[in-house]
Amino acid sequence: MRNMPMPATPPMPATLMDKIWRAHAILERDGRTLIAIDRHFVHEGSHHGFAQVRARGAQLLRPELTYGFADHYAPTRPESAAGAPEAMDMVRRLAANTAEYGVEYFGLADPRRGIVHVAAPELGLTLPGLTIVCGDSHTSTHGAFGAYAFGIGASEVAHVMLTQTLWQKRPKRMRVTVEGALFAGVGAKDIALAIIAKIGADGAQGHALEYAGATVRGLDMAGRMTLCNLSVESGARLGLIAPDETCFAYLKNRPFAPTGALFERAVAEWRMLATDADAVFDKEIALDAREIAPVVTWGVTPDQSAPINGVVPVPEGPKSDAMRDAQAYMGLTPGQTLTDIAIDRVFIGSCTNSRIEDLRMAAAVLSGRRAVVPGLVSPGSMAVKQQAEQEGLDAIFIAAGLDWVDAGCSMCVGMNGDLLKPGERCASTTNRNFKGRQGPNGRTHLMSPAMAAAAAVTGRLTDARPLLKGRL
């Protein structure tokens, strides 16, 4: 800290996070800042929040900044709707709550619907420089646009509904810089899992992560969203990437984004959001993209992972108890070659990896090949579904023997009835390999869409790169 009053100009060097924070700070009290919230997304799980508003007999302060998405319990197939009447009740409850409180709702019949973290950006509801919250930890996804976006609990959901603000303490700053060219077949999911392995499942607690470096700037918006999505798996509340031309091009002409002169004005302001050259971070991490191979998890936390050409590690060090416990749950033995691990099922979907770019990668592996295990491909939104069908990707998945279904959270969380059977082992493009996440005693290996597709083809954990030769 400098020992002099802050000059009005020039301003102190600031990070992207600080700039958004400043623009939203209303007042400070007891070390907390009351920040204004620009967007609030709700889903079926937000019923506790609506219940708290109802208990007060109150209304939403700014319902026009709140949007509802049916995703967590959305049936991905007609059978799953019939087989899970309670899930359908949850969807109906959201429809009723949003109607009662005047919130625009993207319900099951709406072609714009999808997983909130896929559909909201597609609609242009996510913009740079905004504060965005949702009762879902993977709200960090929206940070890909240079938004301050984070998951909140039910009490905070109610707080935002009632006041369009939240009390927050400013997070610490951490920058992850990735430089160097990625190998063909290695992508944002691998970068993210490599970062998480490096800093640990709780390594970024209390921090806002900013992703920087040429490799990150080279990612398309889908890749950036994958990266920011997984920020929470290292304990961070949010992740951010400075908005640039790639981002502005994505946003142009999106239905809810500004247009014309207002868009141009916004772009000019968005350019100024980038972290100042001399801004200081509390922690800095650097990764070399050339050292990143496709990554798979072997354990029950996202940091328990290894490059696909590796082995299940021998438990050692301070984490050895947790490693032993994870390997017992996963039915693996130390030293086992990862590519020897046979799988029962694949799942390609979730807010981490269900965008059109993800499906194209999976299709590149699966084209002209058969899956030897059953699996589900669930696009992140109905718009992605339509795009995939226009490109003929659905035919590739179906010809490979996989189920091509509707959009929703599906087997990422299993709330709609899409679940693993006890003991089943799944190659999954999702974000959490927690015990029981995909169903009681289910075993989840996290990986990229290309890797999940490769596992489908061989029935084992498999390096996707040879299968992608000549196909990218």
Partner: protein, 206 residues
């Protein structure tokens, strides 16, 4: 919200790391209204045997720890999702404090909102407490928030907590009421903001 100042109560050891929110309460139970009570759902799958019966050897089921209001666990407790139901399950089961070396951020924030204390101790101290409780050398702990101390038998150890959360727990104010008092400042912010950032307002699609 519920205030937390101090608490002397029976403590239960849970010698596990990374007890994430999916373990604290599996997603399939989250459609239930809170009024049904979430206590029985706490650690639902971990505390049961494959046949669905409660495993009497699992700490929170064990007779020795019945009525415990304090839980002691290993690193990264409550990592994962934003589901406040994880806190509801702990609170409805009767827990008022969790002692662990580190906590999931959103979990800790949710905990404070519900008057549940997330107290951070070092790994070594957590291990010592777990061992003492498992051997039943100590059965109760006395947690004092103003001094940030835990009395465990003859020992007194310190714990860490974010100063903002400490203040919130000590005064037990409802955040919504606090904020509603600031309505003029909030309205002034939005009025200014509409001029400063006119592009924020969502353009209606149709």
């Amino acid at each position: 919200m519920q205030q937390f100042v101090s608490l002397a109560a029976r403590a239960c050891p849970l010698p596990l790391a990374n007890v994430d929110t999916d373990q604290l309460i599996p997603a399939r139970f989250m459609r239930r209204p809170r009024s049904e009570g979430y206590g029985q759902l706490l650690l639902h799958d971990l505390r049961r045997r494959p046949d669905g019966e409660l495993d009497p050897g699992f700490p929170i089921n064990a007779e020795a720890y019945r009525g415990a209001k304090i839980l002691v666990a290993r690193r990264n407790f409550g990592g994962g999702s934003s589901r406040e139901a994880a806190v509801y399950a702990l609170a409805d089961h009767g827990f008022r404090a969790v002692i662990a070396p580190s906590f999931g951020d959103i979990f800790a924030q949710n905990a404070v909102k519900n008057g549940l204390l997330p107290a951070r101790v070092t790994d070594a101290e957590a291990e010592q407490l777990l061992a003492d409780l498992a051997r039943r050398e100590i059965e109760t702990l006395a947690v004092d928030l103003p001094t940030q101390t835990i009395k465990a038998g003859v020992r007194t150890i310190g714990f860490a907590i974010d100063s903002v959360w400490k203040q919130q727990l000590l005064n037990g104010w409802d955040d919504v009421d606090l904020t509603l008092n600031e309505a003029p400042a909030i309205a002034a912010f939005w009025a200014r903001d509409e001029q400063a950032r006119p592009w924020v307002k969502p353009r209606r699609a149709s």
